[in-house]
Symmetry: C4
Subunit: 230 residues, 4 copies
């Protein structure tokens, strides 16, 4: 079932390693099949160098295992919640990448200090509120998804394709698994440069018109970055 998608999800997971975003098994990527709504996700705790497409787990839209003998990533309920609420997304990634995680641990939004940020994220990258004791003790992984959704009630998840979970680490998403991986790479890169920007003494984000210019030259109907077939 969904053998092609399993291959794609395997590649997305291995790309996290290739981009130096994961240590051990600390990361997971998933993708949603547009037709069935099924979600293909990495199994829990399998080393990346032994991982094969056939190890991928298929879940239905409620997170129930449809195929696969291995347990899905322990973060699967968060992925499921994001897919449920963010209708347009097709891929989700979670890592403990070192710079974005440092911002999550500091509990701070990542301001848009430059055009690198603006090329992918249309505004500052939010840090969700900390979970309450109840939210942690019961249905922790689902509630992690819920606090993410909560902060996006007033934000557009398609133009801000990532978030920091307080005291934890980043989640990113996109139109498919590859897109979510790309955003995981970008959030790490802008987290690193934003850290240094602040240490150098600046805490003022770029102007809205510069943010508009860069975001909109790569996204939306008037985009002119890349080739036509992009």
């Amino acid at each position: 079932m969904l053998e092609l998608l399993k291959e794609k999800v395997l590649v997305a997971n291995l790309d996290l390693v290739r981009h130096n975003l994961v240590v051990f098994t600390w990361g997971n990527a998933s993708e949603r099949d547009r037709e069935t709504g099924y979600i293909v996700i990495k199994p829990s705790g399998i080393p990346y160098d032994q991982m094969k497409a056939e190890h991928m787990v298929v879940l239905d839209a409620n997170g129930k295992s449809v195929e696969g003998e291995l347990k899905p990533s322990s973060d699967a309920p968060t992925h499921v919640e994001l897919y449920r609420q963010f209708k347009e997304i097709g891929g989700v990634v979670h890592t403990h990448s070192e710079w974005a995680t440092s911002w999550a641990q500091a509990g701070k939004n990542i301001p848009a200090y430059g055009t690198t940020h603006a090329d992918y994220f249309y505004g500052e990258i939010p840090c969700a509120r900390a979970l309450t004791r109840e939210e942690v003790e019961t249905d922790y992984e689902v509630n992690t998804g819920r606090v993410i959704v909560e902060i996006f009630e007033s934000l557009d998840y398609m133009s801000l394709p990532g978030v920091l979970v307080h005291g934890h680490a980043p989640f990113t998403w996109g139109k498919d698994g590859k897109d979510a991986v790309d955003h995981a790479v970008v959030i790490e890169e802008v987290a690193k440069m934003a850290f240094r920007t602040e240490v150098l003494g600046n805490r003022i984000p770029i102007e809205q018109f510069l943010l508009d210019k860069h975001y909109l030259r790569k996204h939306g109907k008037d985009a002119y970055y890349g080739q036509q077939y992009d």
Copy 2:
């Protein structure tokens, strides 16, 4: 004698190199044989790229050389002391990894700022007290083990599998050599992210209930991370 264990200890030592935790010969891993209580440890000052399983040195529970023509790591007495006092451990690792060593040089505990930390260490990673002049001048390496054991009189060494030696560097341990290596990787990663968390302005550790959740979903009888055979 213990040829299989020597191979395992060689691999553990080479893994320290693979994970970028050592420069030159600044690191050592050992493992204890459960049956005989013998300890297999890296020889002193042999370059990693020339090291073979047959170079490993076998010590008895008192640190006396049982087999091997090479001298054991100069830190062997510290390993022996840890094995003597921490009955449940099966492996010990020492490195001068750059981030954990920076914290050791600062003489500061590493607070639990995030869930990456909580996944492996159940509370802040302690920095042992500085050794006195007498402790340094006589039986230095044994005393290094003793100040580690001292700080664990009020802490659980199995749920906090590592320590910073003041002005020196980290020691980690685990159920075997591989486990101790894993903890050396983790202590380095959390040291790096904790540094950045503090520079970003946060010095408040995560809540106890979040620490509980993450530590206990990977460890103990109710763990649900990874596969059943894990």
Copy 3:
């Protein structure tokens, strides 16, 4: 047309990857043909690992496409403006390299804190002024070139072969594409060391006579660094 130059420009672009100056497609190198005045530049948004010499785009001195089916880099108008105003240069490079970009995001000049800087840049590396709303909204990429040219009205672009664009990232240039790449490597290295110099507590640049000595032993008629044929 200009097949040899296309090969050179391809190599220059791949060298940006080799020197770890680019993530994804965030960078571009171009070179000007001395005879025709034509500019050969990287296409927009093509992954580096699929890029071939035949993909390079040829522009005339006004930036009009002369050959090539692909669109040129979206930053091409900035390159064109620099070639138009800086008559002696033969190559231009743009990257979002992590350290130089952090300084650009902080909106700060990089002071000449040491002789590494002085070996290549004869004075502090300027950060251009931020573009106005009008400059961003109309002819953004051309205006990016214009604010660079503006700050060099009182500076010598040949002895200061690079600049930071405010809130954006560095541009460098040189006698050809390779030279511009070299300066992109150097600006990144001095940005990194200048950051640390400031964190260590020093904000005083080196003396003018030391700057003179180092710059002039590598450049100009009395240079004595390297071999005669250099």
Copy 4:
């Protein structure tokens, strides 16, 4: 002439690249032949990947070229001055390695914050005084050697095998070229960890008795680190 030594000096220079201590041609290693007193040194400005043993330049004890058609490293007069004054040394290395250079740019000594430092350097690593205008304008490279020698009038160059040149970068030395390279690696590593130690809030060096213990267990007549043949 001295073909074997040329091979050794080539290897020493390439080891600087392997240890990530040099960018482009920013570094040089030399070794002194004990019998003739001749110095074999890297040529100036030759890329490392094209460098061969036959390119090495042989100088006499006064720095006069004895063999080799290429010009020696422009820093050769500094090497010569160090060999002249430090009778026991057999190798010299100069790099612009990123962390040690940052300390040199800050004009600060590197305090002995930990045992990694103490294993190789018996006290804080000094930063020489800045050169005067006259010293820079006339015989600059010789004077660079002289200010190094000056600060060692009250220090032991054999137990402190390295120095920071103010506003410039580190020089290290040792019993041969390989030893000098090792010290270049160590100075970089301790510079990095000392930076972080200070950012974490500690500026107090380790106790003298701990410095003694670590330095003397690796050096001198009572050393017990490594194997007998070491």
